[in-house]
């Protein structure tokens, strides 16, 4: 007898993912999709895709979607959520999109307590454009626009989004997670699901920052990239719950 033990989530379409081998985007897409299905909200969800590697995420999440200009995902999400308060609205953004060009949109959406969920993928580099320095790139990290390594003097320090957003009153839930081993993937799933759960309960702005990878632009094999995200990134971006209004 055959029994289905595992299948692709109904929250994902059959489109072939455009992500590079070893990149954690695929894992995180799966976690988001599973969460939407398990919470029974897929058919009232609207995904806001950003600009960067996840620009095509509107093709992958099996729900309605809008594709935002670079950095503006939280503005689109605000526009949608304000007119459709009973729908579930989430953005899926990388570090260039959210922490650089879109930081104003993101901070103000958080400060208004917009009842949306932000999935923030931090892999410390611009992937789609070919490996340029991100606001979250580490000191010493070599990128195509910091070829001798990022310096504090020239570029400033890596920006810590979760630490910063923890100070914002409108944030209901904020956790930084990682995807480098099964244990952390499972925890990331819990965090993502909780963020959506809070949105269903109208608690306010929720964000999950995922410390992710970019093996191609980091110039590493996938396994080494996972290792680097743990050993180099995690000390700069410590994991944990930064805010949880449900616990207060």
């Amino acid at each position: 007898m055959w029994e289905v033990k595992y299948e692709k989530s109904q929250g994902l379409t059959d489109s072939k993912l455009s992500y590079c081998p070893g990149c954690a985007h695929g894992i995180i897409h799966k976690l988001v999709a599973e969460s939407l299905v398990e919470l029974g909200i897929l058919d009232r969800s609207i995904a806001i895709a950003s600009v960067g590697c996840s620009v095509f995420s509107y093709q992958f999440f099996n729900c309605d979607a809008q594709q935002a200009p670079h950095g503006r995902a939280c503005a689109l999400a605000t526009g949608v959520k304000r007119v459709l308060p009973d729908n579930i609205v989430f953005t899926y953004q990388g570090d260039g999109d959210l922490a650089s060009i879109g930081i104003a949109e993101t901070i103000h959406a958080a400060n208004r307590g917009e009842n949306i969920t932000v999935i923030f993928i931090n892999n410390a580099i611009y992937g789609m454009t070919g490996g340029q320095m991100a606001p979250t790139s580490l000191i010493g990290q070599k990128t195509t626009t910091s070829q001798d390594g990022r310096t504090q003097k020239n570029h400033g320090n890596p920006i810590k989004i979760s630490e910063m957003f923890a100070t914002i009153e409108g944030v209901a839930y904020l956790e930084r997670v990682a995807a480098y081993d099964p244990k952390h993937v499972l925890n990331a799933k819990k965090a993502i699901k909780k963020a959506f759960q809070y949105q269903m309960e109208n608690r306010g702005f929720t964000m999950v920052e995922v410390v992710s990878t970019c093996p191609v632009n980091w110039g590493m094999k996938p396994v080494d990239a996972m290792k680097w995200s743990k050993e180099a990134m995690e000390p700069v971006y410590p994991l944990g719950v930064f805010k949880d209004k449900g616990r207060e």
Binding site: A65, Q66, Q67, A75, L76, R82
Partner: protein, 356 residues
Amino acid sequence: MAKVLMKGNEAIALAAIKGGVDAFYGYPITPQNEVPEYLSKHLLANGKVFLQAESEVSAINMVYGAAGAGKRVMTSSSSPGIALKQEGISYITAAELPCLIVSVMRGGPGLGSIQPSQGDYYQATRGGGNGDYHLIVFAPESIQETIDTIKESFDIADYYRNPVMVLVDGLIGQMMESVDFDRPKKERFVPEKDWATNGTKNHPGRRNIANSLYLDPAELEQHNIKLHQKYEVIKKNETKFELIDFDNPEYVIVAYGTMARICRSAIEMLKNEGIEVGMIRPITLFPYPEKAFEQIPENVKGILTCELSMGQMLDDVLIANNGKHKVGFFGRAGGMLPDPEEIVGAIKNFNERVVK
């Protein structure tokens, strides 16, 4: 509702409510502030959405989101603010989403001044956003005409799935006139928004996506062609203009908005002096009423383009005229408004005004 005395910006806001606006997203800028101020009170009180965004960039992208969700949505701004909105306007147009953008022009470039100007004709009709796109641009000359246009604008935007821009200047925004909000609106077919991204539960079996990305050049070209064909239909259906005193004119003035109002007075003064001058008043700037120029009699001595700028619509006049008549230009800029006498003088000394 009988006639009421109302300030232009507030009338714009009330007309939008009468037109069925569901949501407003904007950012303060002079001289349009009474639009969001009025709407903040009246939209929220009626369970609608009003949100002051953190920037014009954000506001126009909120418009994108809500328009994509299928609602009637608007923003308003003024020159430097519209400049910031150009990115979003390009995306909204590319994604074929309907919305209303009110532009209350002030002097420029840069921070310029807060006085009335028509220096944003290029901004409205050529756009500062990237790519091949057009807005449907109306340039009313009075508060009444502004109201009538705005009431109809959501129907037009919804029908074509394209943003409508209502372009006025700070004078129309700030002055008061006696207006009637109950004038009948043209009945239009408004299609159902079955494309709205409002959750697949509302359209089972189909995902709705608002998008402007086409990496395959062949596919993008098809999209460009589709948009172009839509603009051609808009040209055919929506071109609007008024011909004034066109019986047997010696000269023809071309002017829109506030400048057309000033020219009306100049035309009366010239008539009293025995000089017959007609006027083409474009009401839509895109599509531009090129056809109106076919009605200019063969024997006119010249066409005088009058603008509150250094000459922007002049380009479209030259295109429409196509070398047939002498074209002259009269303009004031920076927030300066001419007296009708100055236009009278420009007609009398037309030969000094000829540019082509």
